[in-house]
């Protein structure tokens, strides 16, 4: 049990140090590191004859190499190309680039499937399609097929910032309250106006940039 706990903590710390990318956004080398760390952590959990150090040191080393490779890739275009590869333009000016399709070991059906996942059911609507280095497909539609933007109609829009969560599961977020220069008294008054006496009754409350307070009460417990 202690071995499992130690390895669990180590893997969590390593993942936190390595960054916050999701599985689908990983670069190939990051995916390799992730798979290797999983295997290294799993084996000594079940085999107590293997010293824990045999896993701890490779996990730390993989984390070190991953961080240093990421740093080098950030600083150097050459390193970035070497470890991450280059994006591949699969559709250029509305035409499928067959050579790139072959290089990527993709067939037309795979491409159509990816386009459908991206919301483009007709290849004729696509101006550019690019396979990014993390395996995601980016699609740039033809100008006549892209969604209408307010600026197309020359409509002025207001600034939309992030709403600030003020109460989460009955707990007041004092940091956010201070950030928007309000206090607990104001919050309690606002809740009273909505017939709520105690913040503990609130499941979630947030304030948007327009000054609108969203409040949702907790469900009453069944007795």
């Amino acid at each position: 049990m202690f071995r499992t706990l130690i390895l669990f903590a180590l893997v969590i710390i390593s993942m936190r140090i390595m960054g916050k990318r999701q599985i689908g956004e990983l670069q190939p080398y990051e995916l390799v590191v992730l798979i290797m760390i999983s295997a290294l952590a799993a084996i000594p959990m079940e085999d107590i004859a293997i010293p824990l150090f045999n896993s701890i040191i490779p996990i730390i080393l993989l984390m070190v190499f991953q961080v240093l490779t990421s740093y080098a890739a950030q600083r150097s275009e050459k390193v970035r190309t070497l470890v991450c590869g280059r994006p591949s333009i699969i559709i250029q000016n509305g035409k499928i680039v067959e050579s790139e399709l072959r290089n990527m070991h993709l067939n037309i059906n795979d491409l159509l499937e990816q386009l459908r996942i991206c919301g483009y059911h007709n290849i004729n609507d696509v101006e550019f399609a690019i396979f990014e280095t993390n395996g995601e497909l980016s699609v740039i539609p033809k100008s006549q097929c892209r969604p209408l933007q307010p600026r197309d109609l020359q409509i002025e829009t207001k600034y939309e910032g992030l709403p600030h969560p003020l109460i989460v599961d009955g707990n007041v977020n004092h940091e956010n309250l201070a950030k928007i220069k309000l206090d607990l008294l104001w919050l309690q008054n606002e809740l009273k106006k909505r017939g709520i006496e105690d913040v503990k009754e609130v499941l979630f409350a947030s304030l948007d940039t327009e000054g609108q307070l969203y409040v949702q009460r907790k469900e009453q417990k069944m007795r």
């Binding site: 140090i17 107590i48 004859a49 293997i50 010293p51 824990l52 150090f53 045999n54 040191i57 730390i60 080393l61 984390m63 070190v64 961080v67 240093l68 740093y71």
Partner: protein, 126 residues
């Protein structure tokens, strides 16, 4: 940038730790081999009192070696060596010369195998 420095520091600590551990493992291995060699010589000369005194020294060396090898070496290999050294100590008490000489040779080979797995060589890398 802080993370990069932190991970670089981790790397240097691991590197320095590995070099120190390797040197310490080597030193313990040599102590163990020399002790086994002294037992071998004493038994060949039928000097059982000297062999008995050396077996006490061997147990002290092994206690230190076991404590430092077990956390970093394959436990199965360390256990095999532990069993072999236990047999060496018992065979000295029983004064069984032929069996003892065989067991000393086995213990020497087991200790060498453990030490060899730590050597940074091409054979070990692959």
């Amino acid at each position: 940038m802080r993370t990069v420095w932190l991970t670089a520091a981790f790397f240097l600590v691991i590197l320095a730790g590995s070099i120190i551990m390797f040197a310490y493992t080597n030193a313990l291995y040599h102590q163990l081999q020399e002790s086994l060699q002294r037992i071998h010589r004493a038994v060949e000369e039928d000097d059982w009192d000297a062999a008995s005194r050396e077996s006490e020294e061997l147990q002290k060396i092994w206690a230190r070696t076991d404590a430092s090898w077990t956390p970093i070496m394959d436990h199965r290999h360390v256990d095999q060596l532990d069993e072999s050294l236990t047999r060496v100590v018992q065979l000295i008490k029983l004064r069984r010369k032929a069996d003892l000489l065989v067991e000393v040779a086995v213990a020497k080979r087991l200790a060498k195998r453990i030490k060899d797995t730590e050597v940074p060589s091409i054979r070990n890398v692959f």
